[in-house]
């Protein structure tokens, strides 16, 4: 599924094929690949979580993601970025977000990957709904809004 701009869609309702995502990075010819995966856990703040749902404002998530990729590529010596975020109902153990960076040297790949996941969590219009074992579910709204400048220093 591609966005109108021909870029792969950042938001995906389908489970990721992580081998497929990884292949795009390895094929770039870079020597260092760093991948972050956010995995659905079975608890949050001491409460048992039975499942999650994510929703997104897709047009803005897509354009925001492309801006983050541009900025990461300007500020780090990296050769390729691949990212995807699930929406819809997720189960415990599902991959919610996948961010991979390929670079000639590993320090740039690590730095860009860590910056990108912080920026995704701080900025992109995606929301999590947690379904609890012991009561009704809830939307989470922890992150503060902020422009791209705020993202690198935020720990969300």
């Amino acid at each position: 599924m591609n966005s109108p701009a021909g870029q792969p869609a950042f938001i995906s309702a389908a489970k990721f094929d992580t081998l497929d995502l990884r292949a795009a990075l390895v094929q770039s010819g870079a020597g260092a690949v760093v991948v972050f995966e956010g995995v659905v856990r079975d608890h949050h703040a001491g409460r048992a979580v039975v499942g999650l749902e994510y929703s997104a404002f897709e047009p803005l998530a897509q354009s925001g993601w492309l801006q983050l990729c541009d900025r990461a590529t300007r500020e780090h010596e990296i050769s390729r970025v691949v990212g995807r975020h699930r929406v819809g109902a997720l189960e415990i153990g599902d991959c919610a977000v996948w961010v991979g960076v390929a670079a000639a040297h590993r320090s740039a790949a690590f730095a860009a990957c860590e910056w990108l996941i912080a920026a995704i969590k701080a900025e992109l219009p995606v929301w999590k709904f947690e379904r609890y074992a012991d009561g009704p579910g809830a939307w989470r709204h922890e992150a503060s809004p902020g422009g791209p400048a705020a993202a690198p220093t935020m720990q969300v």
């Binding site: 803005l60 995606v126 939307w139 503060s144």
Partner: protein, 79 residues
């Protein structure tokens, strides 16, 4: 003369809908927000929200035009 409004997450839950059409065109995004917050009492300070018009983030004083689609973006929790 109307604008379409998109709600997400808890704001959609509170409003009881993911979108609605407002049969008026307030002068700015801020005026539209004031109107909607009075109607729905979303429980978010405006300073915690962002606003997009026709899929682009804008300032609250951005003018609105007939047919605009306005998205109110509450604090995010992706990842």
């Amino acid at each position: 003369m109307s604008v379409r409004v998109l709600y997400f997450a808890r704001m959609a839950e509170v409003a009881g809908r993911a979108q609605e059409t407002i049969a008026a065109v307030p002068a700015t995004a801020a005026e539209l927000h004031a109107l909607l917050d009075k109607a729905h009492d979303f429980g978010f300070d405006r300073g915690a929200l962002r606003v997009a018009v026709n899929d682009k983030l804008v300032d609250w004083d951005a003018p609105l035009r007939d047919g605009d689609e306005v998205a109110l973006i509450p604090p995010v929790s992706g990842g």
